[in-house]
Symmetry: D2
Subunit: 360 residues, 4 copies
C-alpha cells in the first residue's frame, strides 16, 4: 500500500509502496484512511529538525502521520464497540506500561518517557492507505463529524490543557460573581490551528478572548476573530494599552519574547499555559517577574499531549461548533491534497495555511 | 399583559391580565417570552401540593414559570453583553446574599435557605408576555438553539449534578484503563425529561446507560433508548439478571422502592445520585445495605438546582446534541400549546408527555 | 513461635506454637512484635460471625492480628529505608494487582475485591512473635511514638475517611468566613476507639464536636469529651433540642436507628460518613428523608480501609496529640495483656475497654 | 505603651511610647505581646527597600511586626472562643471585602490588592506591648506550644504553599506505588527559616529532601539537615551529579540564577514553587527551558501569604515537630532580644541568625 515515509536520520520524505503485514488480532480493527492532517511536528521530522524521532523496532523507515480520520473496514472477533463503516480517530501516544500514569491510561503524563507515538517515535503513523490498531485506542467518531473530525487529534491536546487548567484553578475561587468565566480575559498568543482551538474553547467557556500575533491577521483570521467576538491584536503595531489585564495567557508560540512581555498584564490568581515549543530563542527575565509570580499566586503550566478522554472531549467540542461555528471549522481546513502531493506540503507550509490535510 | 398566575395558598391557576410596572434599570434587560416549559413543580404548585411556594413581597399572587426562553426587547444603558434580538434564558434561583456560596454565585448551594426562585418562591416567574431582569442573570442563547433552548433550565440541573459527580469521583481512579468512562455502567431510574437528560449526558460522556422504569417504554422512549444505544429495562417484568453491576445509579423518581433494591448491584467506588423527590413513600432498609455502602466506598449524593455556569453547560450540551441527536430533542418537546390552554396542561399532564411548553 | 490462630470455619481461638518458615527476601524485613491491638473484626472472626474470613493458600488456619507495632530485627540486602531497631507498622490490605486503584497503591479503593488482608482474609496476621514483610508495606514509626503507635492502624482508617471528606466537600465552599471549620458542627455517633479518633481529628481540624451514644459516658469517655471541649450526648435521655444543626455526621455504629433519626438535623451541603457495620438491623426510611438529601445537596459517604499514606497521616496525628492530648491516647489503651491471655480478651470484650492490646 | 515604629517614607526605626486608644468591641480581644519575630520584610521596611509599605489611615507612622505570639488579657462580651490566659497568634492580612476570595476568608488570594497587612501596609503591627483585635482573626494556640508558636506566622505561608501544591498535583497521579511521596525528591533552595520550614514539612510528608545553598552549611544548618535525613548541597562547590532528578523544587531565594539552572533536573509532572522575592537580579532563559516545561507537563506556582486555616495547619505541624524535632525548633530561634534592642536587630541581621525574636 501507499505510505508517506521518512528516514528519521535524514531530511526528506517520499510516497512509497510499503509492504507491512498486519494480521488482525481478536480485539483489533482494520482502518482505511480518509484524511490525515499535517502539522509542525510532521514538517520538523521531514526537515530533520526534530531529534527525538525514530522508526519502530526492526524498520529503517517511519511512516508519518498522527492526525488521522479513518473508517473501519474489518473488526476482530472480540471487538464489541466498533463495526465496519464506523469513523474512528486513533490515539497517538501509547504508554510505557510501567509508570503509574500510563497504567491508568494517562500516558499524556508518562513519567518514564518510554512511550511511543504513532508517526513520531517508535511506531508507524497513519499516512498510509490502511492500518490495524487496537479497539481500545480507536475513538469512535459520530457520523455527522466526518468532514471535520480530522481536527480531533490536534484539538485533543488543547482539551487536555484546558481540562487541567480548570482543575488546577479550583485551588481558589476563579469563577466570577455569577459562577461563570465571563469576567475573565484570556490572551491567546498565536493564531495557527492550536491558537484557534484555544480561542474557540475559551470563547465557548465564556472567556473574553484576545488573539495576539506579531502581524496583522490574515482574512481568515480576521473572519474567525470577528465570528468569535474576539479581538485580534498585532503586538508589533498596537500599543499595550489596548489590552486589559489578563486572567489567562496561553502561549502557542514557544517564543519567550512573544509571551514574557505580556506577563506584566497578569492579574492575581492568573495562569499562563505554555503549549508551544521552538528552538534557539533566548530572553532575559528579571527578579521582578519572579516577584510578580509569587505575590500574585500565578501558575505557569506546561501541557503536552492528550489521553483518549480528551479525544472524546474534542469530538464533543467539534459537535458544539458544528452547531455554532461550522463556518470556522470549514475555513480552518485550508486545503485537501491527494497523497501524491503530500511531500510538497510536508516540506514547506502552503501560504495562508491553517490546516492542510491529505485526502486518501 | 397576560400572565399565568396562582394563589399559593389555594389550588387552581388562571390566565389573567396583570399590571406589573417594571422600570428598566441601567444594567437590566426587558425580555419577551417565546416559550415557557412546564414541569412537575409547576403542577405541584397549581395542585397545592407544594408547600414551600409563596408570592413576592407585596403581592397576593405568584406568576408561575421557571423554564423560560425569551428574546431581548430592550436593554438598559449600561448593558454590555446583550442586545435587542438576542435569545436568553433566565437563571431561576437568586441567592440569599449572605452565605458564602451565594456570595460567589453558587446559590444552588445556598446554606441559609433564604433564596428566592422565579415562579416558585418569592419572585414572579416567566409565564407572562414579558419581564425585566438583571443582565447578570440572563444567559445568552446561541441563535441556532432557539427551537430547543426552552430545555436549558431543566437540563442545567442535570449538568450541575454530573459536574459535581465528576469532581467528587476524583477521590480515587474512576476512569477506565483507557482514561474514558466506557467501562462504566449507569442506571438511570426514570424516563421523564430529567431521566432523558441524564441518559443523554451519560451517553455523551461514554457510560453504558440502562434506563429503568416500572413499565414498558412508550414508543418515544423506545426510540430514544435505541438512538442512544441504551437499554430500557422494565423493572416489573424483567429479571434483575438482565442488569450488569452498576458504577452509577441516578434516581429521578424520588421513590425509595424504585432505587434501593437496585443498590445491591452497586460496585466498589460507585455513586448514587438522588435527584427526584416525592411524598408519602416508605421503605425498609437493612444494616446490610449500610455495610455495603461502607465496604464499597459508595457515595450517595443529593443534587438540586443549578448555577449560571450550568446553564451555559446546558447550552453546550444542546449544541452537541443538535449535531448528534436533534431528533431526540425535537421528540422531547411533545406539545406546544398557546397560553390560553396553559391551565389545562398545568392541571393535568397530557398523555405521552415528555415536555409540554407554552408558546407565546 | 507462638501465634494466636483461628480456624476460619469454626468458633474459637488458641495460642499455639506454629512453624512458619519465612526466608528473608532482598527487599524484605524481619519484624518482632511489640504490641498487637484487638478490634471488633478480630472478635467477629473468633466468634465466627464474620463470613468473609479465610486462611492463606495452603493453610488450614489463620494467624489473627492486623493492628500491629513491631521492631525491625533484620533487613534484606536491598532494603534502604529501614534498619534494625526501627519501629514499624505494617499495612493491612494488599492489593489485587489488577484494578487501577490497586495499581497505584490505593488498595483501600480496590475494585475487584480480590485483595488480601493480614489477619482477616488470605494472609496471616501479626499476632505472632515475628513476621517477614516487604519493606514497601512497612511504615516507619518515629521513636517517640512507640508507646502509642499500636493505635496507628485503626486511626489510619479514620484518616482516610476524613481526607476523602475534605476533598469531596471542595465541590462547594464548605469552609467558614475565616477559612477554617470553626463554624461547623460534627456529630460523632459512637464513642469506641474509632469514634474517639474521629472526635480527636475533627477537634484538631476546628469542628465543634458532639459525641453521641445511647447511654451515659463512662468516666474515661467523660474525661475525653471534656478534654476535647466536645459535648457527650446520651441520645436516650437527652432531648434533640440540645443538639444544634449538623454539618457533618459520622456514624461509627452501623446501626441505622442510631444515625438516621439524626439526619433531620443535617444542614444544606452537609455530609454523613458511614463507617460502622453491624448485622441484623432494620429501619424504615421515608421519601421525606430522600427529599431532604436532594434539596440540601447532602452527601453520604461510605469509607473503609486505608492506604500507606493514611498510616503516615495517622502517625502525624499521633505526634500532634502526643504534644496536645497524650493523656487521652494513654487512657485509650485500657489494658495490655500477655499473649497467653489473648484468647480471653478476644472472646469477649473486657469491661470499660476502649482498646485492649497484646504485649509481646 | 512601647512600640517599634517606622516612618514608611524613611529609613530607620525607633522604640517609642505611642498613645493608641483601642476600645474593646463586643467581639474583640485585648492581647498582650509575648514574642514578636523579625523577618526580611521587617528589615526591608526599616531599610526603606520595600516600597509598598504605608501607615494606617490617619497616622504618619506604622507600628512594625507581623510574626506575633500574645496572651489574651481581656475579651469583649460576645467573645465565645477565647478567654483570658489563652495564647493567640493574629492573622496578618485582612481582606478587601470586595473580591470573591476575600469574601470567603481566603484573603491570601485577594484579587483587588486592596487588602491591608498588619505591620506592613495600612494596619499597625504587633511590635507593641498590647493590641486589640477581632476574635475572628486570632488563632488559638495550644498551651504546650507557647515557646515556639512565634514561628506560626512564617510557617503558615509555607503550609499554604504546600496545601495548594498537593491539590494542584492531583491533576494526575503524583503519589508513588505505595500511595506515599517516598519516591519523590524535593530540592529546597535556601536554608533560612522559610527554607527550613519547607524542609521540615516535606520530610514529614515523606519526600527525600535536598537543601541547596551557595555556601557550606552553618553548624546549625548541618545539624538540621542531618536530623531530617536531608542532604545539604553547596551548589558552588558540589557538582550537579550529586543531585538526583527532582519532582519538586522550592525556591525561597527569589534569585533566578539560584533555581533556574536546577530546572534541567526537573522530571515529568514535577512542580516548582516560587516563594522568594529579591530585587535587581536578571537571568537569561532559553526556549529549551520552555520546551522542557511543555513536554514534561511542569507546573510553576507562585505562592504568597496564608489564611487562618493555614495558621491552624502551622500549629498542627508545630505540635508534630514538638514531638519529633523539638531540638530543631528550639535551634531555629537563634536569639531572643528585649524590645530596646529591637532597632539593632532590625537594621542588620545578627550573624548566624535563623530567627530572631523580640521578647516582651
Amino acid at each position: 500500500m501507499k505510505a508517506v515515509i521518512v528516514n528519521p536520520k535524514k531530511q526528506g520524505v517520499e510516497v512509497k509502496d510499503v509492504d507491512i503485514k498486519e494480521p488482525l488480532g481478536k480485539r483489533q480493527v482494520r482502518v482505511k484512511s480518509i484524511f490525515t492532517g499535517i502539522c509542525g511536528t510532521d514538517r520538523g521530522i521531514v526537515n530533520a529538525k526534530i531529534t527525538f524521532t525514530y522508526p519502530p523496532n526492526g524498520y529503517n523507515f517511519l511512516i508519518l502521520g498522527h492526525e488521522e480520520l479513518g473508517i473501519v473496514e474489518e473488526v476482530g472477533e472480540d471487538v464489541t464497540t466498533l463495526k465496519k463503516g464506523d469513523y474512528v480517530v486513533p490515539v497517538v501516544r501509547r504508554g510505557c506500561g510501567v509508570c503509574l500514569n500510563c497504567k491508568i491510561g494517562r500516558q499524556d503524563f508518562c513519567e518514564t518517557g518510554n512511550f511511543v507515538e504513532a508517526g513520531i517515535r517508535g511506531k508507524h503513523g497513519f499516512m498510509r492507505e490502511e492500518f490495524v490498531d487496537d479497539e481500545l485506542w480507536l475513538v469512535k467518531v459520530p457520523d455527522e463529524l466526518k468532514e471535520i473530525a480530522v481536527l480531533t487529534e490536534p484539538l485533543s491536546n488543547v482539551v487536555k490543557a484546558i481540562d487541567e487548567l480548570l482543575f488546577v484553578q479550583r485551588r481558589m475561587v476563579w469563577t466570577c460573581e455569577d459562577s461563570t468565566f465571563e469576567c475573565r480575559n484570556a490572551f491567546v498568543v498565536g493564531s495557527g490551528p492550536i491558537g484557534t482551538f484555544f480561542s474557540l474553547i475559551l470563547t465557548t467557556l465564556g472567556f473574553n478572548v484576545y488573539i495576539i500575533n506579531k502581524r496583522d491577521p490574515s482574512p481568515i483570521e480576521e473572519y474567525i476573530a470577528k465570528r468569535l467576538g474576539a479581538e485580534f491584536i498585532n503586538s508589533k503595531t498596537e500599543t499595550e494599552e489596548k489590552l486589559p489585564n489578563a486572567d489567562l495567557i496561553v502561549d502557542t508560540s514557544g517564543v519567550p519574547s512573544a509571551f514574557i512581555p505580556l506577563m506584566n498584564k497578569m492579574k492575581p490568581n492568573s495562569a499562563l499555559i505554555l503549549f508551544g515549543t521552538v528552538e534557539g530563542e533566548k530572553y532575559e527575565i528579571t527578579s521582578d517577574l519572579i516577584t510578580a509570580i509569587v505575590e500574585k499566586n500565578i501558575i505557569v503550566m506546561g501541557s503536552v499531549n492528550a489521553s483518549k478522554k480528551d479525544f472524546q472531549g474534542a469530538l464533543n467540542y467539534l459537535s458544539i461548533w458544528r452547531s455554532r461555528y461550522l463556518d470556522i471549522l470549514e475555513k480552518m481546513i485550508t486545503s485537501k491534497v491527494p497523497v501524491d502531493k503530500a511531500p510538497e506540503v510536508l516540506i514547506s507550509k502552503p501560504k495562508g495555511e491553517i490546516k492542510t490535510v491529505i485526502q486518501w
